[in-house]
Symmetry: C2
């Protein structure tokens, strides 16, 4: 499972303040803690700063990379901000994300074409958020085809089917889960990723829902997650589900996590 | 999700003692607690008493039914003991279980033929425990066909694919999960059930494994479970997974469980 550490996101009040104050130490501590707890990529998001997003995103990338060797997941809907962040990033980043929204798609594609970046392909088009598995798979087909035409190999694509809140429609869980399974089956070798906390929006005991939904998504083939690596319960659920899904030879990872007292449940 | 309360099983030391002492109060208390916490059937098992199993199983059924209206799940590999228990059972029991082991199969089939009992169909034959999904489905095909010939409707069949310990083969989780999915797909209208604690045998943090595996099995279509209904974490996992699987209109069951403070995680 590829883990993208989600904590350095300016929509969180503490991060917003740290960015405004150019407080390197706070950002770097969070980068280090996430890397130490299993993050393969450190998400950086400065989306709340209209007009200053590109500048702050560059600063985040530089600040994070001074502290850790883990690459960044450059998280923005704005191709200009992504390009700015790429200009200072060392190593191979993940780009979060391209979609089928025409303006975003057409501006970002030339920036990533022919690269070896990991690309998050978000199942979103100009018609708005998809509600069914069919709608998600249909967007994924178009997006994957376009990425292939632009020399992005399947192995570098991470389709994000886009989680929507269960509180608004009690089928949104299954529609999402089925889209994970269908995308994995339709494009052998491709990956899937998501940030799934939206599933529990508007319901009580959100952590219980998020953690359970993660296990269900892994059962359907999810192999990337944008999560908080410091959440020991969530990480225990992920490691345990992967082991039960036959992805952990001799249960070695499970046993190591147990011995290192990384489990909480 | 059909819940079979597993606690009245003589392989547990306290239950064995209660049976030997003909301690009705202890058995009845456990029956009441399980019924109050969501059990649809109360499993009764006296399998450790060689030579006295039939007598004790009858006593367990009578004792349980004096206390609760919930029907019993009569749990024995011995058709004679099952027949004895049936002679005193009121209402419609579940029978746990018939298998493709020839002696057991041929002796039990006439007892259940044409009945409206719920029947657990265990994927086990004379060749021993199945290891793969293929082997499980193959036994299920034969067993389901024989049950249909004996006027048991699909809706009363609960196929138990038989969980085996992950510690002995790291693919045993997926083989089991895939067999759940395949059985449900191949026989529309049929049910599946299992007691899944064997999955964690020989590994640490067994409750974490059991709970996670339950969520994965529900994702694949499991709709019956032989569990401890007093285990609040397990019950929280089951209710939450069912809600996320789209089986809980308006999330009503989830919200009710939350309000009744039945969640622990």
């Amino acid at each position: 499972m590829l883990i993208v550490g989600e904590l350095i996101n300016a929509s969180r009040q503490k991060i917003r303040a740290a960015i405004e104050n150019q407080d390197k130490a706070s950002i770097q501590q969070l980068a280090e803690e996430q890397a130490a707890n299993g993050a393969d990529y450190i998400d950086v998001n400065a989306g709340v700063f209209v007009g200053k997003e590109a500048e702050y995103l560059k600063w985040l990338v530089t600040t994070v990379q001074e502290a850790v060797d883990t690459p960044c997941c450059i998280d923005s809907p704005d191709p200009g901000a992504i390009e700015a962040a790429l200009s200072v990033h060392r190593g191979t980043p993940m780009i979060n994300s391209i979609s089928m929204e025409k303006e975003r798609h057409d501006a970002l594609m030339p920036i990533i074409a022919g690269s070896d970046y990991k690309i998050v392909a978000l199942c979103m088009g100009d018609a708005g958020m998809p509600e069914t598995a069919d709608a998600r798979v249909s967007i994924a087909e178009e997006l994957v085809s376009n990425l292939e035409k632009n020399q992005i190999p399947l192995d570098n694509m991470y389709v994000d089917p886009l989680v929507q809140p269960l509180s608004t429609n009690d089928n949104y869980g299954t529609e999402f889960l089925n889209s994970i399974e269908r995308v994995k089956k339709q494009f052998p070798g491709i990956h899937t990723v998501c940030g799934l906390s939206n599933i529990s929006y508007g319901l009580p005991e959100r952590m219980l829902l998020n953690q359970t939904f993660m296990v269900m998504a892994i059962t359907k083939g999810l192999d990337g997650a944008i999560v908080n690596p410091l959440d020991k319960k969530m990480m225990a659920a992920i490691i345990t589900a992967e082991t039960l899904a036959g992805k952990d030879e001799w249960c070695a990872e499970y046993l190591q996590a147990y011995r290192q007292k990384r489990f909480e449940f």
